[in-house]
């Protein structure tokens, strides 16, 4: 197993780009002034019914895949109540068998600080061994333990994605995990990803962006992944500072300069990870500033106390407060609103979202101080969103969405007994959770996922889902699902092309019929 130790590259910004960025920030500030002036206006009242494409299309877009139970729920509730429930979920209860699997996991029983302390101790013990064979064996055992913890995190997320009634929250959890992407293969991050998703991301997935950002900035998974635990006064590491602006808030053309990256790196000094339970020894003058909660540590002795100017304005607060002040500024910046709005519209509407829609969503983000649910409501109420539900305007599922939607359609709420095969398919298709090496997250556009190898493998996955792959349900697998019933005729059949109907007519068995349906261009559509 590789040990991954060092920092990401320190990228330089080209002068020409700086000019472009300065232009962009000016435009964004102007736009912000206009937006704020327009905050008071009321959006047009949205319709209460599901419109021409019906509940199926809505559920399919806002969940990890429509199936009879989820469409029935939405139909019964009506659009407004169902959408409100998805945006502000109160029911997150999983089927008992799925919850029991989660409860049995080590990551559910032991808090992250305890886990990491145990693992760190066994790693240190391994390294202290003098016999080569014993040392190698102990190191392998340590790696295996880390792998198991990451696998549990993936399994837990899979069970929630498949069975949680709060489907939009699950999609948004994935969206933000990808936005604040960490790679499990680096250092001991495998022990941290479960907590990262559960504590930093999911609770804020539909909440306030600033809270989400704050939780990420304080989480050891991110601090490790982007090397901020090695960023200290006198030993500056710009890695996190750059990505925090480029990928997490302002966007690459969001109007910051190399000087801002350097400043933010200094702001972030002292923010790190302390595995030991006891506090670091700090000289008395700084002790009141010291914070150590769980694994998170703010160490004022490592922090640069010099006065700083970020994005053209001085920062007034000190220590950890200075970091929060900087995050406030970034989270409320119009460039951030625009960057997040475009990403949300790309995820939910189109690879090339209409600029007018992005502007409206960005305005909602700014006007609500980054309230994610309220911002999404504006997106979902838009005519552009409704139009995108028509089959001709659908996007292309990424691998995670493809696999989850197939399993949800085929097996409904019957919980998997073994998550291994489904995680294996997602891995084969190239999109495992916590598996993207670079900090930019997986690409969201169709062209990243519709290559020939990807498609051929999807058809094999379709066959495995459609014929009840033996690994899914243990010793007593259910009969193959029968997808061709009246529900199919009512909701899916009208959306199929003549070529797909021809293909289904050629199926010789129910399993083959399932395979063809799950392989169809329509089922690839988001």
């Amino acid at each position: 197993m590789w040990r991954v130790l060092a920092a990401l590259p320190q990228k330089k910004t080209l002068p020409r780009k700086r000019l472009v960025r300065l232009g962009a920030v000016f435009t964004a500030m102007l736009a912000s002034a206009i937006m704020l002036a327009a905050c008071a206006s009321n959006p047009p009242a949205a319709r209460n019914d599901f419109g021409p494409e019906g509940a199926y299309a809505w559920v399919n877009r806002l969940s990890w895949g429509a199936n009879p139970a989820s469409v029935a729920t939405a139909t019964k509730m009506g659009r407004s109540a169902w959408l409100a429930q998805q945006l502000h979920p109160t029911d997150r209860v999983l089927p008992a068998a799925a919850q029991a699997q989660i409860d049995a996991m080590r990551i559910s029983k032991e808090p992250m600080p305890v886990l990491l302390r145990e693992l760190t101790a066994s790693n240190e013990a391994a390294n202290a061994l003098t016999d080569d064979a014993a040392k190698q064996a102990a190191r392998t055992a340590y790696q295996r333990e880390l792998n198991e913890l990451a696998q549990q995190a993936e399994s837990r997320a899979l069970l929630r994605s498949l069975y949680s009634p709060a489907q939009l929250q699950e999609q948004m959890t994935w969206f933000w995990l990808n936005h604040f992407s960490v790679f499990q293969g680096k250092r001991d991050i495998r022990a941290l990803v479960g907590d990262y998703e559960e504590q930093a991301i999911r609770p804020h997935a539909l909440g306030r962006f600033r809270d989400l950002l704050g939780a990420v900035v304080r989480h050891p998974a991110m601090l490790r992944y982007l090397d901020n635990d090695q960023n200290a006064v006198g030993r500056i590491n710009e890695n996190y500072a750059r990505e925090l602006m480029e990928l997490h808030t302002l966007g690459v053309d969001g109007g910051y300069q190399q000087a801002d990256v350097q400043t933010l790196a200094h702001v972030l000094t002292g923010l790190g990870v302390r595995v030991q339970e006891d506090d670091a020894k700090i000289r008395p003058a700084l002790q009141t500033q010291y914070v150590h909660t769980g694994l998170f540590e703010f160490n004022p002795a490592r922090h640069d106390p010099a006065p700083k100017t970020l994005l053209g304005e001085p920062l007034k607060a000190q220590g950890l407060g200075e970091i929060d002040e900087a995050l406030d500024r970034l989270a409320r910046h119009p460039s951030t609103a625009h960057f997040i709005a475009r990403k949300l519209a790309t995820f939910f509407v189109s690879d090339e979202p209409p600029p007018a829609l992005v502007d409206r969503v960005a305005k909602a983000f700014l006007c609500t101080d980054g309230d994610i649910a309220k911002t999404l409501k504006v997106l979902f109420d838009s005519p552009e969103f409704s139009a995108s539900l028509a089959p001709a305007n659908n996007g292309f599922k990424d691998p995670v969405h493809y696999v989850l939607s197939g399993v949800r359609l085929a097996y409904g709420d019957r919980p998997l007994e073994d998550t291994g095969p489904v995680l294996g398919w997602i891995r084969r298709l190239g999109q495992p959770r916590f598996g993207h090496v670079a900090p930019d997250g997986y690409p969201m556009v169709a062209s990243a996922w519709n290559g020939s190898g990807q498609l051929a493998t999807r058809f094999e996955v379709a066959r495995a889902i459609g014929t009840t792959d033996r690994g899914l349900f243990g010793a007593a697998p259910p009969a193959p699902p029968s997808l061709s019933g009246p529900w199919f005729s009512q909701y899916m059949a009208p959306r199929l092309s003549p070529a797909t109907r021809d293909a289904l007519a050629q199926a010789k068995t129910a399993q083959e019929w399932n395979t063809f349906l799950l392989s169809s261009p329509e089922f690839m559509a988001r």
Binding site: L8, F183, A438, L455, A456, D502, F516
Partner: protein, 397 residues
């Protein structure tokens, strides 16, 4: 003893008779395979600096003995360099036939010493001080500039398309270890392909099925051939033959990676963990050449790794992350049997940061030089593959 082994190997290896210098000028049908050893292999025990006393001082437990001193001695290549002894049957005959060369002091200027970071930067092949475009790998850029008679069909023998092959050109990928599970029969495949015929994805779907069928055939053929020949039938030794069966007719630019080279602890010397990995790699590369058959003189294989390892052994009879490494170049018509590129004496004073091989042959310059010879690229084309890079003139071909 050594001579007898060599003669036996020559007799048993038909590909050696295919030699000939067919590469006088760039020609159509050129084949390129890049083999990435992930984890940073210990190049210092592959291409052994037998002329350096400092090497023997630095590696009291790990050093490979000077040629002739024992049955586990390095195989002499020239006065300065020897080859790891487990490659006597697989790689030494190729070297002696001029079909294998090494480029020591090769690598990247990336100094992070992180596997994850450096593999990415090498595969992207972009300037280190520019913003990274993760959707533009150097092999994809190569494929994109090759057109007309030289149009090259790319392929990745990996579970996902690697960074080096990401970009504008569509690249199929084939993972032999997951092949054949849950396959669809010919009728089912046709029904599915027909669903897509009138859609924008029609071509990709058809190609996906076709590649899968060929890959399955190649996988089976290689296994049959192997069982008849009593060669190793597992790991890279088998995979490389499967790759060759696909590349000789169907693909022109390929990529494969092999993990397991991060030897911090107990790596062994003439025998042991690393020696076993070299055995498997050597057998694989020799088998690849053999299976390429008539296409071998048009083929170039380059074996690379993200960085080298520390020149001195560590306290665990292993080595840690270093800097410069050694690239291998193989092919039926290369100017091999030589150690190529800038070199320098290996002494304490010449080590990079007093610990590692320096990088004297930057990898983008090495590849740029190779590509310009293989494909006769114009400077404008070369600039699209490696912006602002002056090609090395190593005379590989």
């Amino acid at each position: 003893m050594k001579r007898r082994e060599l003669l036996a190997a020559l007799a048993a290896t038909p590909l050696l008779t295919l030699g000939g210098r067919l590469y006088a000028a760039p020609q159509a049908g050129a084949k390129l395979l890049v083999v990435f050893l992930r984890g940073a292999y210990d190049a210092t025990n592959l291409l052994v600096p037998v002329g350096s006393n400092f090497y023997y001082e630095s590696r009291p437990n790990l050093a490979i003995a000077r040629p002739g001193e024992s049955p586990t001695s390095a195989l002499a290549l020239n006065a300065d360099w020897g080859l790891h002894p487990v490659l006597a049957k697989s790689m030494l005959p190729l070297y002696q036939a001029g079909q294998l060369a090494f480029v020591p002091f090769a690598g990247t200027d990336d100094l992070s010493r992180s596997h994850f970071e450096t593999q990415d930067s090498v595969e992207l092949g972009q300037a280190l001080d520019a913003h990274r475009d993760y959707q533009s790998g150097f092999l994809n850029r190569l494929v994109s500039v090759l057109a007309g008679a030289q149009a090259a069909r790319p392929v990745a023998f990996t579970e996902q398309v690697p960074l080096s092959l990401r970009g504008t050109a569509q690249v199929p990928n084939i993972a032999f270890n997951t092949l054949g599970k849950g396959g669809l029969d010919a009728r089912q495949s046709k029904v599915i392909a027909d669903m897509y015929k009138q859609t924008a994805l029609g071509k990709q779907v058809e190609e996906g099925f076709a590649v899968k069928v060929d890959a399955q055939r190649a996988a089976a053929e290689a296994l049959d051939a192997a069982s008849g020949r009593a060669i190793s039938t597992k790991g890279f030794a088998l995979e490389a033959r499967r790759i060759a069966l696909l590349m000789k007719d169907r693909f022109d630019v390929g990529f494969v990676d092999i993990g397991g080279w991060d030897t911090h602890v107990g790596q062994g010397a003439a025998t042991g963990y690393l020696a076993d990995r070299f055995t498997e790699l050597g057998e694989g590369l020799a088998g690849f050449g053999e299976e390429m058959g008539a296409a071998w003189p048009r083929t170039v294989v380059v074996v690379i790794s993200e960085f080298g390892r520390t020149f001195r052994e560590n306290g665990n009879r292993g080595t840690d992350h270093g800097h410069g490494t050694v690239y291998w170049v193989l092919g039926g018509a290369i100017q091999g049997g030589r150690i190529l590129g800038e070199q320098q004496k290996l002494e304490a004073s010449t080590l990079f940061q007093n610990r590692d091989y320096p990088v004297l042959n930057e990898y983008r310059r090495v590849f740029a030089g190779l590509f310009s010879q293989m494909y006769g690229l114009s400077s404008r084309q070369l600039d699209q593959v490696f912006a602002g890079v002056a090609p090395s003139k190593l005379g590989i071909i």
